[in-house]
Amino acid sequence: MERVTAVLAAVRQPLGARRAYLAPVTFVVLGLIDIGVFGAAALVHKGDASFLLSTTGSGVQIPAIRVPAAPLCFVLGAVSVGLGVLRGTTELSRLVRRLTVAAVLLFFVLSLLCWADAGHIALNVIIIAQGTFTASIPLILGALAGCLCERSGVINIAIEGQLLFGAFTAAIVASAFGGLWVGLVAGALAGGLVGVLLAVFAISFLMDQIILGVVLNVLALGMTDYLYDRLMAQNSADNTGVTFGDIKIPLLSHIPIIGPIFFASNVFLYITYIAIIAIQVALFRSRWGLRVRAVGEHPTAADTVGINVLWIRYRNVILGGLLAGIGGAFLTIGSAGSFIPDISSGFGYIALAALIFGRWTPLGALAAALLFGFCSELALVLPTVNPILPAPIMNMAPYVATIIAVAGLIGRVRAPKADGQPYVKA
């Protein structure tokens, strides 16, 4: 009998026992890296790390912070190891568990920065934060688009194609008509058009949604390459590289540190704020969201109580497409300016990873996208501060960080139950 229960437990929870050790072990390992790698290396350099908290020309100038690099690494590492031991030995509430994860990751990043900067020119924290947002916006919008689709039960692998087509259309319309806002709307509609294709084939033609997503990405890549060759490459007036200017929000943008990071960017950052809050609240605090989630978890039950399953799926998939189209528009008229073939270069797939990593919630996806954006920005900045760090190796950081986070901290995730299954009324 005992054996039978053991077998049953093994069948039901194949990963449960091992996963309990995952987070503590990861904490301890990260802490030891803080001490043994960053701390020890910083000891060799014998320098202070310094951080700037204001950009040149801003109203309030804050003096730079200088910290002794090596001792700080040792302290942060020791605290991380302690948190790991604490988490491995005692039961903690959910909130405290999350706080420990955040703390250990923060300490890891701080140690990394101290080590990289020890004895070199000062790092500007404001610029890193701004860069983080720039790198994250398409990922956040793409992941939110995926969230809208998948919460209603339609897998969206086509985020990449929606970003790409949105980026192309926004660039060409903004250039040809000379209106950035027209470009933004056109980009959104282009993403929405891919969304319409996704919806029609997935919901009405019951096509396998993973195949469909991959195919739409191939089509978007092929079409934008083709149109780029035909139109933009032959007539540069179709690809002028216009971009939105920054909008500084009165009062708020003058707050030291917070102002330049959060309230002095272009319109896309503000759209992203609105989208995150709106979707998080709507999905979990409104009747609308309850219906969406019902359709994504158990469409038959939803249908029985009178919810129009197919309509909700159509609406959400197309809404998601519009949102991803805006994310695509950011790639051209929001940051880079002109379109180049394959400008999305895998952002859509990373957004998909952020969505899964964030457990299909807007805030989770936001955290994942920010982690990713932050690491990309570090990879960009650190080699300029400290030439020892080779750029290609630093470029790996966001991807490696995601793998560590997914494997070490998140583990198994559960998608909406009906995600990917077409609904056929019985």
Binding site: V11, P14, L15, R18, R19, L22, I155, F201, S204, F205, L206, M207, D208, Q209, I210, I211, L212, V214, V215, L216, N217, V218, L219, L221, G222, M223, D225, Y226, D229, R230, G346, Y349, I350, L352, A353, I356, F357, P390, P392, I393, N395, M396, P398, Y399, V400, T402, I403, V406, A407, I410, G411, R412, V413, R414, A415, K417, D419, G420, Q421, V424
Partner: protein, 431 residues
């Protein structure tokens, strides 16, 4: 929307058995039924046809003469249609001549020219198809075990790095050198795949995330190795280029120059046969398919699901690594940063078109290989007017239409029957 025939999803997503034939029927009747109801072969052919029709629109749009003719459609309708027909038929004829058979070489051979030249287009198609078949197999075998391997690109790079290093950095006797490089490529890819499977089995990390991330990690690793002289960079170069492989590390060709079949192609076909044998004739293959159908059921049946995941990803990575060997040792003889091309993503479409079956993958790889060769040929033949990237659109459309048999039925007015569509090769996130 109401007249769209609704095809019930296949209740058993893994294997659809052939319907038992109670009595032998006339071939003609079977054929007519296949056409009116749309067997999978008919659906595939119609899908390719439909994709070519849509592609024709792009060809028309590419040709300024034709677009101008359409501008005066109502004044000279015959002229517009004639120009359209001319442009489209010319482009597709060029594609056919470039990829399959050029009639002028046949007449030249009849008049005493080279017979081998007849087969040149086909040999080019096989060469293009080789890496696509191998990455296609890497994606397909993972699909059969219920995993979505987006990471063929990263596994390809893993194989390429090892094969290149063994190819120029080690000296070995002639035949052994080729074999060691091939094995090295397999191992290089397999390690990357194994890591993905291991993470999934040990921590539950989703393979889609891990493979996507590893692709980028491997690109960066390749970039790093190719920009340091102590590593893989050619000493006299500042570009991201590795040294040429030693001559005895390159894959030989069968047949004389220039129509030749690379040994790589034979390896690809052999790999497909091996995968087919593994999946249908061995216990391991049975376990893969069972895990793919339902991990929970497989676990209750006593199958070690985690072990299957690790093993199938290891094999998938190895196949992607072989694809790298076929390119580096077969056609390029040198690794550059751009060598990985689009073999990884193309592998996904090839696997999907081949319905995750090894022989289907070979056929799909050949079709896409032919399209790639034809696309390059038509771009040259029309002096760049029809760009080669319309082929990418064609590929996407073909897979789209094949995977949506309901659409093909509506367009061609076929009678609806259940179960001839594409099987659910891919599964949702919880699968």
């Amino acid at each position: 929307m109401s007249d769209i025939p609704v095809v019930a999803p296949d209740p058993v997503p893994t294997e659809t058995p052939e319907p038992a034939r109670s009595r032998p029927r006339l071939t003609g009747a079977v054929l007519i039924q296949a056409i009116t109801e749309g067997s999978s072969a008919v659906i595939t052919i119609l899908a390719i046809f439909l994709a070519l029709v849509v592609g024709a629109v792009l060809i028309v749009f590419s040709d300024p003469v034709v677009t101008r003719a359409w501008g005066s459609l109502f004044a000279h309708p015959g002229y517009a249609l004639g120009q359209t027909w001319h442009a489209v038929s010319f482009a597709y004829a060029q594609m056919f001549e470039g990829a399959i058979l050029n009639p002028s070489t046949v007449s030249a051979a009849v008049h005493g020219g080279s017979v081998g030249a007849i087969f040149y287009p086909l040999s080019a198609t096989c060469a293009q198809a080789t890496p696509l078949i191998l990455t296609g197999l890497a994606v397909a075998i993972a699909f059969r075990a219920g995993l979505f391997n987006i990471g063929a690109a990263g596994q390809w790079v893993g194989g390429a790095i090892v094969a290149t290093w063994l190819g120029f950095g080690v000296s070995l006797p002639p035949v052994i050198h080729v074999i060691v490089c091939l094995l090295g490529a397999f191992v290089g890819g397999a390690v990357i795949g194994w890591f993905v499977g291991l993470l999934k089995a040990r921590t539950g990390a989703h393979e889609v995330i891990v493979t996507i991330m590893l692709n980028f990690v491997m690109y960066d690793l390749l970039s790093y190795l190719l920009s340091h002289h102590g590593m893989l960079q050619e000493p006299k170069q500042t570009n991201q280029v590795a040294p040429f492989l030693a001559n005895d590390a390159n894959l030989p060709h069968v047949g004389g120059p220039p129509p030749q079949v690379g040994v790589g192609f034979l390896i690809a076909v052999a790999a497909a046969l091996a995968v087919a044998w593994l999946l249908s004739r061995t216990t391991t293959g049975f376990e893969f398919r069972t895990v793919g159908a339902s991990p929970t059921a497989a676990r209750s049946a006593g199958i070690n699901v985690e072990r299957s995941w690790v093993l199938v990803m290891l094999l998938a990575g190895g196949l992607a690594g072989l694809s790298a060997a076929a390119v580096i040792q077969g056609t390029n003889t040198q690794l550059t940063f751009n060598s990985y091309g689009t073999y990884g993503p193309d592998g996904i479409t090839v696997a999907l078109l081949g319905r995750a079956r090894p022989m289907g993958v070979v056929l799909a790889g050949l079709l896409f290989g032919a399209l790639h060769v034809g696309g390059t040929y038509v771009e040259a033949a029309t002096l760049g007017q029809v760009p080669a990237n319309i082929v990418q659109v064609l590929e996407g459309l073909i897979v789209l239409f094949v995977a949506a048999p309901a659409l093909i039925r509506v367009v061609f007015r076929l009678r609806a029957t259940a179960g001839t569509g594409m099987e659910a090769v891919a599964k949702g996130w919880n699968g």
